[in-house]
C-alpha cells in the first residue's frame, strides 16, 4: 500500500509538488533561522565570556553570594598555586585572574593639590606578561589614543573619564582606594592610553591596570577576585563537567572561603537570556507549523476536492473511510519527509554560507564592535540537520488531518455521487 501511495505521489505532481514546495521553503527558513540563532547565541556567549563570565569562573563562595557588588575583600588567596594546579589539570584551558575594584581617581595640579576627582571602576588583568587578556578584551582596538601599558605603573582609562577630568596621555594620576583589609591606600599611575569600548558601563568609568599593580595597590598579594577559564571552543557540557569535577574536589559548602567554579550558563543573566532565545525559537517553530498547516490544509482541501472522484471510487471498491483517511495522512508523511530533506539541504547550504562568510554589522554598532563581534555568523550544529523535521512533518500531517476531515463529514453516498459529476 505504501508503494502504491508513493507511486501516486510521484506520478501526480499536483499532489506532491505544491505541498513539497511550501514545506521545503518553510523548512529551509527554519534551518537558516535556527542556525543563525545558534550563531547568535554563540556570539552572545563568547562576548559575555570575554568581558565577564569566562567559559567557567572560579570565585570564593562568599564572593559568589555578593558577586554583583564585586567584593574584592572576599577574594581568593594563593592564586598562583591555584592557577598552576588548574593549568596542570586542564592544560587546554586558559586560566586568567582578574580583580574588580572601585576607587577614586585624582588629578593633581602643579602643586600636587587635587584639581579634579572622579569615581572609577577598576579592572586588574594580566597586561604585561601575556597577550591573552589583551586579545580577549580586544584592547588593541579599544585604545583610541596612546598605547598599551608596557611597564608597571601605567594605566588605561576610558575616554569619558579622560574628558571629565581633563586627562591627557602621559599625565600622572593618583588612585585612592581601600585595601582588601579596609585601610586607605593610594598610588600614582601614568596614563598610557585612552580606551573606548562602545558600551556605557565600561566607558563611563573604567580604568584598566596590570594585575600586579592592583595587587600591590590593594594589598592583595597572590589574590584575585575571580579566575576565568577559557576553553578554545565553548562546549556547554564540558563547562558543567569541569565545574562539577572541580567543585567536588575543592568546594566545601560549609566553608565560605572555599572556591567554587561556575559554568558560564549558570552565571548571572546568561541562563535566562539563552532560555529566552530558545523560547523564541520554540515560538517561531510553533507559529511556523500553524501557518504552514493552514496553507497545507487549504491546498489539501483543493487537492481533496479534485480527488473526490478518486475517493468515491475507492469507497465503492470497498476501502473504508478510515483507511482512506489514514492513507492521506501517510501520503502527507511521505511528502513531509521528502520536503524536509530538500528544505534542510537547501537551508544548510545557506546556513553554511552564513557561517563561512558571516554578515558584517559593524556599521550598525558604532564603537561597540570592541565588545561585540561585528560579524554575525550562523552556526551549524547537529540539531540543524533534524530541527526541520518538526515543522516539516508536523505541518504536513496536521494539514492533511484537517483537509481529510471532509471525508468523514460527507456521507459515502455524497462522496460517491461527486464522481458522477
Amino acid at each position: 500500500m505504501l508503494k502504491f501511495l508513493a507511486k501516486g505521489l510521484v506520478r501526480d505532481r499536483s499532489r506532491s509538488f505544491f505541498p513539497i514546495l511550501i514545506i521545503a521553503a518553510g523548512v529551509m527558513l527554519t534551518v537558516i533561522f535556527y542556525s543563525w540563532l545558534n550563531g547568535y547565541i554563540n556570539m552572545l556567549i563568547e562576548d559575555n565570556a570575554r568581558f565577564d563570565t569566562g567559559h567557567v569562573k572560579i570565585v570564593t563562595r562568599a564572593y559568589n553570594e555578593l558577586i554583583d557588588q564585586k567584593p574584592y575583600d572576599l577574594a581568593m588567596m594563593n592564586v598562583g598555586h591555584r592557577i598552576e594546579t588548574l593549568s596542570r589539570d586542564y592544560p587546554q584551558i586558559q586560566w586568567q585572574p582578574r580583580i574588580y575594584f572601585g576607587g577614586i581617581l585624582d588629578v593633581p595640579d602643579e602643586n600636587k593639590e587635587t584639581l579634579k576627582q572622579g569615581k572609577v571602576a577598576g579592572l586588574g588583568v594580566n597586561l604585561l606578561n601575556s597577550n591573552f587578556e589583551r586579545d580577549i578584551l580586544n584592547l588593541e582596538q579599544a585604545i583610541k589614543q596612546g598605547k598599551m601599558p608596557s611597564k608597571l605603573g601605567e594605566i588605561l582609562i576610558s575616554r569619558d573619564i579622560a574628558e571629565k577630568l581633563g586627562i591627557q596621555i602621559n599625565d600622572e594620576v593618583t588612585m585612592f582606594g581601600s585595601t582588601m583589609y579596609g585601610s586607605i591606600t593610594m598610588q600614582n599611575f601614568i596614563v598610557s592610553g585612552i580606551v573606548v569600548f562602545g558600551v556605557q558601563i565600561l566607558d563611563k568609568g573604567a580604568v584598566i591596570i596590570d594585575i600586579s599593580d592592583v595587587r600591590k595597590f590593594l594589598d592583595m598579594e597572590d589574590s584575585a577576585s575571580e579566575i576565568l577559564g577559557f576553553i578554545p571552543k565553548y562546549n556547554e557540557a564540558a563547562t558543567y563537567q569541569i565545574s562539577a569535577e572541580f567543585n567536588e574536589q575543592n568546594s566545601d559548602p560549609t566553608e565560605e572561603f572555599s572556591e567554587i567554579m561556575i559554568p558560564l550558563k549558570d552565571q548571572g543573566q546568561m541562563a535566562f537570556m539563552i532560555n529566552v532565545i530558545d523560547q523564541r525559537m520554540g515560538m517561531f517553530i510553533f507559529i511556523f507549523i500553524f501557518v504552514m498547516s493552514l496553507v497545507l490544509w487549504n491546498s489539501g482541501l483543493m487537492n481533496g476536492i479534485r480527488r473526490y472522484g478518486e475517493i468515491g471510487v475507492r469507497l465503492a471498491i470497498g476501502e473504508s473511510k478510515g483507511h482512506i483517511y489514514r492513507s492521506l495522512i501517510l501520503e502527507s508523511i511521505i511528502i513531509g519527509i521528502t520536503a524536509t530533506i530538500i528544505g534542510t539541504g537547501i537551508g544548510l547550504i545557506f546556513a553554511f554560507m552564513l557561517q563561512h562568510y558571516g554578515i558584517n554589522i559593524s556599521s550598525f554598532m558604532k564603537d561597540a564592535e570592541v565588545i561585540m563581534n561585528s560579524t554575525m555568523r550562523a552556526q551549524i550544529t547537529p540539531s540543524c540537520y533534524v530541527i526541520g523535521f518538526i515543522p516539516g512533518v508536523f505541518a504536513s500531517i496536521i494539514g492533511a488531518c484537517f483537509a481529510g476531515i471532509g471525508i468523514y463529514r460527507r456521507n459515502t453516498a455524497q462522496l460517491f455521487k461527486e464522481l458522477e459529476t
Binding site: 507511486k7 470497498g318 473504508s320 473511510k321 459515502t412 453516498a413 458522477e420
Partner: protein
Amino acid sequence: MKENFIEIKHVKKEYPMGTNKFVALKDIDLNFSEGEFTGIVGPSGSGKTTLLNIIGSLDSQSEGEVIVLGYEVADLSSSKSARMRSENIGFIFQTYNLLPVYTVFENVEFPLLLLRINKNERIKLVTEALKWVGLLDKIKSRPSQISGGECQRVAIARAIVKKPKLVLADEPTANLDADNSHNILKTMKKINEETGTTFIFATHDAKVIKYLKRKITLLDGSVAKDELVNGG
C-alpha cells in the same frame, strides 16, 4: 441457486429538498437470486442509480429492509459495509472511473491490495482478469493512453478481479459506441455464465436489453414491470 441472495422489502428512499422531501423510490419489493444477469431499466430520474447504490451499500434507504448476501445493509457500520463491498461486490460505472495516475495493471490490482492478498496471488488474479477482458497487452498503459472501450474493459477487470459474488454496473455502455457496447456485454455475459457471478445493471440502452435474462422496469420510483426475457 440461492433464492434470497438479495432481498428488498418495502424500500422507500427520500431526498430532502428544501423543506419538502423528494421521493426517489416508493415501496420497492424485489428479490434477486445468485447468478442473475438482470437489468434495471427506465427513463432518466426513475431511480435506477438510487436503487443500485442502496444495494451496493453506498447509500441507505429511508424505510424498509435491504438484505444483501445475508447482511442487513442498514445495520452495517461504515467500515463493515466497506468490508462487505471489498469482499463481495464489484462496481462498474458509466464514466469508468479508473485511477488516472495508475497503470492498467495497478488499477486492476487495487482491490486486491485492499484485501491484503499477497503479491504472487495478485499477479495471478490480475493477469487472469485482464485475460477475461482481452487487455493483457496493455497492462503498462495509463487510462489516458487507451480508448474508452478499453477503459471500460479495465473497469470490468477491476470489478471481477477479486471474484466477487455480485457485480453492480451503472450504465456501463452509455459512453460507448455500438461495437464496444456489444463487446463489453458479451464479456460480462461470458463471465456470468462461466463463473456464476451475479450481474445487476442500471441502463436505458436498448442494446443491453437483448443480453438480459431478467428486466426490471422502474417508473417514477416504482417497479412497473419485472419480467424474464430472452428465455432467462
